[in-house]
């Protein structure tokens, strides 16, 4: 029997859960927790400069390891600041445990200083949430939070702990065992047999993979399956790293910023094997015109996704790795020459925009160059905008948890803190963040955090002095009325980042492969500043709300 406070109990439980790094910011309502944390020998605290940064640093760790990561914020403004990072985790199914301080229990509901209804506010953006009402409850709530975050389809869980609960003394006999994720649902053999038969019979099948395949760590087996069946593979934004970029069956990302031939190939398929995807509108275009003639097998760990937007011929509830392993031995080896030939013909008729060579002539070629000069183990993060789509189209991915981007929420400001989190979780790897001058400003304060911990992060900043993707949409769909999307003043990013203590490499001054190589060889935080013309667009593109066959650009290689 040991006596401890709620705060100490929380820290012990986090330690038992195997947590070694936590990001956060202290304040009045979580100071007892911080005091207890200061005495932990196991957990290192990363002091972020803004709670949104703390949330995204935790996301960077979780997206890199696949395991729940923890972030802390105080009540009121701390909690409201961290909300965006939690919502982002919800939409991309990232396991997080966010612990917020709350005003003391007797003051809840009185509009006390720094009180907001964190519980109510977080209901729609978490997988589950708790308002802890006694220190005793922590013994069940904390392990439960980890179990929920990691089980099935992962997601963020919020635990709101009032200050008096953190200070309350309790006697603890035995701390509960650390939580583990629930076993995935058992896949039915009949479903596997039906799916195998459908695949074997299909003349023109396509394997469509998303973030769920990455989460299930099924990339290797997925490649195997595709090769056995000669099934071309298309990816959502979240699934881009599943199949190596230059693999012969990789037909690229589908949807709004797909290559024209990719969307056309989808039109022609007779079977879609959709794994870990959620039929998002950015991928399907107008959903009732999405591959109307194809049968669909949909594999997902989340029952809610099956039949959500498209009724499918066969829905398989289960862990994708498990499903693929059971499916693979039943798949007949087939060359499918006609179908593969048809897609190559489409590809020659509508050559891809994404470059097959690297260089400095376009942002896409430059991204490819950075990729070619980097190790295969490099982790890539992005912000949101044209640079994100250019990276999606051009970076030479090689596989696994290598690609961290804000898919569902599309949050500007994601790239830098997530890169810091990734570097903390994988200190032996280089992390490259492709960003834009609009996005980098949104969590710029974390430049200081990066220097403090000397993380091996390189920011490649595409500076077009505007909110590029918005600018492009105004040009294309609002008659060029580029209102409030241009920055009239040029900031000196090189001086600013130097001021934060970053190494800098300014390609505006000097531009050669050698210089880029040197910058990438720099250990610790380093900026590569790349000026880009406002005219550089992301093409081809499906206009928002249109069917995927309606594409602007991409009919020529220009």
């Amino acid at each position: 029997m040991r006596e401890m406070t709620g705060a100490e109990c929380t820290v012990r439980l986090l330690e038992r859960q195997g947590i070694t790094i936590i990001s956060g910011i202290p304040g009045g309502a979580n100071l007892p927790l911080y005091d207890a944390l200061s005495r932990s020998k196991q957990i290192k605290h990363i002091l972020a400069r803004h709670e949104q940064g703390a949330g995204f640093i935790a996301q960077g760790m979780a997206r890199t390891t696949g395991k729940p990561a923890v972030c802390l914020a105080t009540s009121g403004p701390g909690a409201t600041n961290i909300v965006t990072a939690i919502a982002d985790a919800k939409l991309d199914s990232v396991p997080l445990v966010c612990i917020t301080g709350q005003v003391p229990t007797p003051l809840i509901g009185t509009d006390a200083f720094q009180e907001v209804d964190t519980y109510g506010m977080s209901i729609p953006i978490t997988k589950h949430n708790f308002l802890v009402r006694s220190a005793q409850e922590l013994l069940t709530v904390i392990p439960e939070a980890f179990r929920l975050a990691a089980s099935g389809r992962p997601g963020p869980v919020l635990v709101d702990i009032p200050r008096d609960v953190q200070l309350e003394h309790i006697a603890v006999d035995d701390l509960p065992a650390p939580a583990v994720a629930d076993a995935p649902p058992v896949v039915s053999d009949t479903d596997i047999a039906t799916a195998a038969e459908m695949i074997n019979r299909a003349a023109r099948p396509v394997l469509w993979v998303g973030g769920g395949v990455v989460a299930a760590q099924a990339d290797a087996i997925c490649k195997n399956l595709a090769e056995t069946a000669s099934m071309p593979v298309t990816m959502t934004l979240m699934g881009l790293s599943v199949i190596p970029r230059d693999h012969e069956l990789n037909i690229g990302m589908l949807g709004m910023h797909a290559e024209r031939y990719t969307n056309m190939a989808m039109e022609g398929c007779d079977l879609i094997v959709a794994a870990g995807v959620r039929f998002d509108d950015r991928a399907t275009g107008k959903v009732n015109e999405f591959c109307p003639n194809a049968k669909v097998i949909h594999i997902d760990i989340d029952h809610c996704e099956l039949d959500k937007l498209r009724s499918v011929s066969l829905g398989i509830l289960g862990d994708i790795h498990d499903v693929f392993s059971k499916l693979l031995p039943k798949i007949e080896t087939k060359p499918r020459k006609e179908w593969i030939g048809y897609i190559s013909a489409l590809k020659s008729a509508f050559p891809p925009h994404s470059p097959s060579e690297s260089g400095f002539e376009s942002p896409q070629k430059f991204i490819r160059l950075v990729g070619e000069l980097s190790d295969n183990s490099t982790i890539v993060t992005t912000d949101v905008g044209k640079h994100q789509m250019w990276t999606a189209q051009s970076y030479p991915f090689t596989g696994g948890r290598q690609w961290l981007t804000s898919g569902g929420l599309g949050t500007m400001g994601f790239g830098l803190p997530v890169a810091i989190g990734a570097a903390l979780a994988a200190p032996d790897k280089k992390v490259i963040c492709f960003s834009g001058d609009g996005s980098i400003l949104m969590n710029m304060q974390e430049l200081a955090t990066a220097v403090e911990h000397n993380v091996d992060v390189t920011v490649v900043l595409f500076n077009n002095q505007c909110l590029g993707l918005v600018h492009q949409q105004q040009e294309l769909f609002f008659e060029g009325n580029c209102f409030s999307s241009e920055y009239p003043i040029a900031l000196d990013y090189v001086a600013i980042l130097r001021g934060f203590g970053w190494h800098v490499c300014d390609l505006a001054e000097n531009c050669s492969e050698e210089i880029v190589k040197q910058a990438l060889a720099t250990e610790g935080p380093c900026l590569i500043h790349m000026p880009v013309s406002r005219e550089e667009k992301v093409l081809p593109m499906v206009p928002p709300g249109a069917a995927n066959r309606v594409m602007i650009g991409g009919d020529t290689n220009g």
Binding site: I123, H128, N129, H303, C304
Partner: protein, 103 residues
């Protein structure tokens, strides 16, 4: 209310604060009106049953799945038969309000 076919969702939930907000949040985010709510603790009081009177709608199936995913929800079923209870309650309420207006 009369123009629509109604059904009742019968939901078994944990009986603690916040559960109703989780359940009704699924409706409010879709601008889907809940016509009537009934909620009573089950015998042991650690769980409650919520009855929601709602319009029949193609989205209900998906919403029931989402509801089952909520950690505090144990069971969800739809039953058009229960609508009668709400009709009876409506007559109780209207006679009550007539009385109080008269008084």
């Amino acid at each position: 209310m009369a123009n629509h076919a109604h059904t009742v969702l019968d939901i078994l939930v944990n009986n603690h604060p916040g559960v109703m907000a989780h359940v009704t949040g699924l409706f409010s985010r879709r601008a889907f009106n809940v016509e009537a709510i009934l909620c009573l603790p089950v015998a042991d009081t650690s769980t409650s049953r919520i009855w929601l009177l709602v319009n029949e709608d193609g989205r209900l199936d998906q919403m029931m799945r989402q509801m089952r995913k909520l950690q505090d929800v144990y069971e969800v079923t739809a039953s058009a038969e229960h609508t009668k209870v709400f009709a009876d309650l409506a007559s109780v309420m209207s006679s009550e309000s007539n009385q109080s207006m008269a008084g």
